[in-house]
């Protein structure tokens, strides 16, 4: 696999999920294990640019894939704009869901840019817009136990505005 730009060759038990491979074998502990059943979103990473739940996929199914985790988006002193926006807008309290929220939101903005509609997109034939309603729907696969949702939407909105 290519993880955050580096080629990493590992031998694993077939049962190893991508999440466990990242956390336990590659020591990339930014991606979090919340529910381990694809219900909470804390394990969200990007595979070939698309956000997925790393707990619901096997590492062996990603031979040769490009994986981006929160560590690959930014580091202390060199934050990704989304990371910086989460800090500015107080988009977290305990922080456990935050890496997943940030990976999911970066990819969600790419999906909007690519014209992928959502459940709340009024016109399926129009380009989807970055609205609070769209962001809430598109981020529904990431649960925040602390309830920082409104600040998370603010952070994503700011980054989307800057990109536009």
């Amino acid at each position: 696999m290519r993880v955050n730009g580096d080629v990493r060759a590992i031998q694993l038990d077939t049962r190893t999920t991508l999440l466990d491979a990242l956390r336990e074998h590659l020591q990339l502990t930014g991606s979090k294990k919340g529910c381990d059943h694809g219900q909470c979103g804390a394990c969200t990473v990007m595979v070939n640019g698309q956000r997925i739940y790393s707990c619901l996929t096997l590492a062996v199914m990603h031979d040769g894939d490009a994986i981006t985790t929160i560590e690959g988006l930014g580091q202390p002193g060199n934050l990704h704009p989304m990371q910086a926006a989460f800090v500015r807008h107080d988009g977290y309290q305990c922080g456990y869901c935050t890496p997943g929220q940030i990976c999911a939101s970066v990819a969600a903005l790419e999906e909007i840019k690519a014209g992928v509609p959502s459940h709340v997109t009024a016109d399926l034939m129009a380009m989807p817009q970055v609205t609070a309603e769209e962001l809430r729907e598109r981020m529904s696969g990431n649960i925040c136990r602390c309830g920082a949702y409104s600040n998370i939407v603010d952070a994503i909105t700011e980054v989307a505005g800057r990109q536009a």
Binding site: H37, G41, T57, L58, P117, G141
Partner: protein, 316 residues
């Protein structure tokens, strides 16, 4: 998770042959449902055949003017396809009403059809379940049944099929294309693809053990207003209590399929003649013979009201 061996198939025929060769083997595509069930040891395959590399990820026009959706087309890609958004809006809407962005990026067209029920008694491994352990009984009957089926149920099982996508495909008369280990291909109308539970609720589809889905085809577009309305306990990322997929023509005729009420997408073609007379008459015909429980009798009323809302939207 129980230990298993793993291989990557290189062609649909090879995949079907591999699954026929090894007992207790399963195909894995998106894996979002299968791996969840493997972690809970509800599914315990001894061997997994990864079918992701088969190139079945294209959506092509058919000579008849419809679409042929490769088995491995992801739910996101299918919902975002311009032809699907334009000509099969009910399908795009149903896909987008299901799961979350992360799951839709992984979940495949064939896998969506083959996903297992979310009945809590199927998931609760301390409880009897005729799907999980044939012959063990059904703990759902007499249990907490708010989410469960109201029609087409049996003494052995009252589970529902959880898919949104399949409900829209039922309204669109989709056809499932398969291939078997001996190379024979067949086309299964979606109406015949999913089964009612009867006495064998663990047998959920018309597929043979060594049968592999290669594509789902949609007939040429039928026009009309396309609506998918899903009623659920949360605004997003939840399974349907009741969902209605509808394609309604200008003259008030149309097609309706329901999700959340039965072991398969529920459509009664004969009842659709009642659609111009309104939701009450139509839903009475669609859900004729329903046997809801005390907990889920509300679904019958909810289905009628949801259809009324859908028809109002379609006519507006």
């Amino acid at each position: 998770m129980r230990p298993f061996t793993y291989e990557r198939a290189r062609s649909p025929a090879e995949a079907a042959t591999a699954v026929a060769r090894q007992p207790d083997s399963k195909f894995i595509a998106g894996g979002t449902n299968l791996l969840d069930l493997m972690k809970l040891q509800i599914e315990t395959p001894a061997h997994l055949i990864d079918v992701n590399g088969l190139g079945l990820d294209r959506i092509e026009a058919t000579p008849e003017g419809g679409l042929r959706i490769g088995a491995l087309v992801r739910n996101t890609s299918l919902a975002a396809d311009e032809r699907v958004r334009r000509d099969y809006g009910v399908l795009a809407r149903a896909l987008l009403a299901g799961a979350s962005g992360q799951l839709r990026n992984k979940a495949t067209t064939a896998g969506n059809l083959l996903q297992r029920t979310r009945c809590p008694y199927f998931y609760g491994t301390a409880q009897p379940c005729n799907k999980r352990q044939p012959g063990s009984g059904c703990a759902a009957i007499g249990g907490v049944t708010r989410q469960l089926g109201v029609i087409g149920t049996s003494e052995a099982c009252i589970a529902t099929h959880p898919s949104d996508m399949a409900v829209a495909m039922r309204a669109l008369d989709a056809v499932v294309e398969t291939i078997r280990a001996d190379g024979t291909a067949r086309r299964i109308p979606i109406a015949e693809f999913h089964r009612l539970p009867g006495e064998t609720p663990h047998i959920e589809t018309a597929m043979a053990r060594d049968e592999f889905i290669t594509a789902v085809t949609l007939p040429p577009p039928i026009g009309g207003r396309h609506v998918y309305r899903k009623v659920r306990d949360r605004a997003s990322y939840a399974f349907a209590l009741v969902s209605v997929a509808a394609v309604v023509q200008r003259d008030g005729t149309g097609r309706v399929a329901l999700g959340g009420v039965a072991h398969k997408p529920w459509r009664v073609e004969a009842a659709e003649a009642e659609l111009p007379r309104g939701a009450k008459q139509a839903m009475a015909a669609i859900l004729d013979g329903a046997q809801p429980t005390h907990d889920n009798a509300f679904k019958v009323t909810l289905a009628e009201r949801t259809l009324a809302s859908v028809l109002a939207e379609a006519r507006g």
